[in-house]
Amino acid sequence: MLSAYLPVFLMLLVATLVALGMFTATSLAGPKKPTPEKLLPYESGSNTTGASHLRQSVKFYLTAISFVVFDIEAAFIYPWAALFRDLGWVGFVAMVIFLAVLAITLVYEWKKGALEWER
């Protein structure tokens, strides 16, 4: 029973070892000469400003919530895709209707300006 999962465990083990090995190798092989500039957080060369805990604009909320709603709908597509052949035309038509309804809601959201970042 569990032996079926052996390759998966082996792959996880190998992936972990490779990642750890790369980190260890670079930290051992590379030279270390720290200066104050090098210890700064990396911000593409510009100086950092303010604290790292920024208050997020409420605009993110609208995008996030749209994502959650549409993302969850994708959950219905997975089982359909897995059984695509068995479900035949009936399943296909049903999924087309489902996606059409989703598309209409997306068009609605778009035209209503919920996807505009600057308002």
């Binding site: 009936v90 049903a94 309804v101 209409i104 809601t105 609605y108 778009w110 035209k111």
Partner: protein, 494 residues
């Protein structure tokens, strides 16, 4: 194609909902959307009543839809009631939004979606469709209450209803999941058959049933699950309050009827010693007494109507409890009651909208002082609506109460006493209903008070004309609607 015949009203509402969404997104003219909404919902309602009145046998649904939706006369009856409520609310909302300069098309979309959810709920024969219909309806209604998002009252009412409503939905769902765990079925018929066979864990069934009943009692606003009702009713815009009081309540009672008759019919769960009848009686008595007594103390007419809707839920629950003994007469009484209640409530809330105008809405008793003398034509529909809610002959409300109380008396035994309690509670109700009428006709507005000026709106006026005519027609000639209700109830019991 004729397979789909019996759910044509449902499909009409679904497609018109999508169409109205697109129309709202692409058109600038929002007021016409009210008319489109009302016509679509009205057509769906007429199709339903046409199918019902033709009396032809309904073909079974295509196999794809499984056993999730009912094909019966009861569903068509509720399609009619819910679509009627939705269409009239949309007309009232059209006038209201224009007058108060709130014109945004979302409200019409939400009305259609909520109507669709209510129709699915009323038609559900499976816990899955029950849940989906309930949530489609409820989520749309939460958003409708919060529609006026700069108003603290609206948002607060929406938040209270949302939190308590979701809590109640979770309780209902857990109860439903327990019924599934006990029986292995999510369809009502399967649950009923399995409970009848006696091979189930009685504790699971009992706990599951009580949780489902509690969730439904919340949706109909029965005491002690009524806490949200006054706040949500007062916070919402008046047309939305009207919609909530009719469509939401009708759909919740529809599924109540179906779940009791189909899923929980047997001796084990439907007798006086064990099961749902004593639970319903408990809820019913509390709602009738508390709703009527609390309504007396209100200053706001909207809040008074909210408490009166709790009392009405109590009368209807009394009819449902009596159904465990007499069956068909009680169920048809409940159906007629819901129809009468729908038109009367739309009439009352619609007139309340009509009496006010921008900057001066009619909400409190003081706002209504003397309206009857200054503007008799807007006061008249309100008075008819209130008299019908009170149960004054020859309005529709009178026959609603008569059939329900009559069924309770037929059930005999303790039910006679319940009917007496109901009558006494209605007498208290008569006090506060008549008090509004007296305020409108006799009282003069206080010195320096801004008086409500009626708005002018063809939409609202036509909604009032239609619902007023319906109140009188169902009151003077109740037999047509009652026959439809009786045939629906007979087919359900089989």
């Amino acid at each position: 194609m004729s397979d789909w015949l019996s759910i044509v009203p449902l499909l009409l509402v679904a497609t018109s909902g999508l169409f109205i969404m697109l129309a709202d997104a692409f058109s600038k003219e929002k007021a016409e959307l009210a008319l489109v909404t009302a016509v679509s919902l009205g057509t769906a309602g007429l199709v339903a009543v046409g199918l019902l009145a033709s009396g032809s046998a309904l073909p079974p649904l295509p196999e794809v839809l499984g056993s999730y939706l009912a094909v019966d006369e009861l569903s068509l009856f509720f399609d009619f009631v819910i679509c009627l409520g939705g269409a009239l609310s949309a007309l009232v909302a059209g006038g209201y939004l224009r007058e108060h300069e709130l014109e945004r098309g979302e409200l019409y979309v939400l009305i259609v979606l909520a109507t669709f959810g209510a129709m699915v709920l009323a038609r559900s024969t499976d816990l899955l469709t029950l849940f989906l219909g309930l949530e489609t309806m409820s989520l749309s209604v939460y958003a409708m209450i919060a529609f006026r998002r700069t108003s603290a009252r609206a948002v607060e009412g929406a938040m209270k209803y949302f939190l308590l409503g979701s809590f109640a939905a979770a309780i209902l769902l857990f109860g439903g999941a327990l019924l599934y765990a006990a029986t292995g079925h999510t369809d009502f018929a399967g649950i009923g058959a399995k409970i009848g066979s006696g091979e189930v864990e009685p504790v699971l069934v009992l706990v599951g049933m009580l949780m489902v009943l509690a969730g439904l009692a919340f949706k109909v606003g029965a005491v002690p699950f009524h806490m949200w009702t006054p706040d949500a009713y007062e916070g919402a815009m008046t047309p939305v309050t009207g919609f909530m009081s009719v469509a939401v309540k009708a759909a919740a009672f529809a599924v109540f009827v179906r779940i009791l008759v189909v899923a929980l019919p047997g001796e084990e769960v439907a007798s006086m010693t064990s099961g749902w009848p004593p639970v319903l009686i408990f809820l019913s008595v509390l709602s009738m007494v508390y709703g009527n007594v609390a309504a007396v103390a209100q200053k706001s007419v909207k809040r008074m109507l909210a408490y009166s809707s709790i009392a009405h839920a109590g009368y209807i629950l009394l009819g449902l409890a009596a159904a465990s003994v007499v069956g068909e007469p009680a169920i048809s009484g409940v159906l007629f009651y819901l129809l009468a209640y729908t038109v009367s409530n739309i009439l009352a809330f619609g007139s309340l909208v009509m009496i006010g105008s921008r900057g001066k809405e009619a909400v409190d008793y003081d706002d209504l002082a003397g309206v009857g003398r200054r503007h008799p034509y807007v006061a008249l529909p309100f008075i008819i609506g209130v008299l019908s809610l009170m149960g004054f002959p020859p309005t529709a409300g009178f026959f609603g109460k008569y059939y329900v109380f009559n069924a309770a008396v037929q059930a005999g035994g303790g039910f006679v006493w319940l009917a007496v309690i109901g009558l006494l509670a209605s007498a208290v109700g008569a006090y506060y209903y008549l008090r509004v009428v007296v305020v409108m006709l006799m009282k003069s507005p206080a010195e320096g008070q801004v008086v409500a000026v009626p708005m002018k709106s063809g939409y609202v006026a036509s909604a009032l004309a239609m619902s007023g005519a319906a109140v009188m027609v169902f009151g003077l000639l109740p037999s047509w609607a009652l026959d439809l209700a009786i045939s629906a109830a007979q087919k359900l019991i089989g």
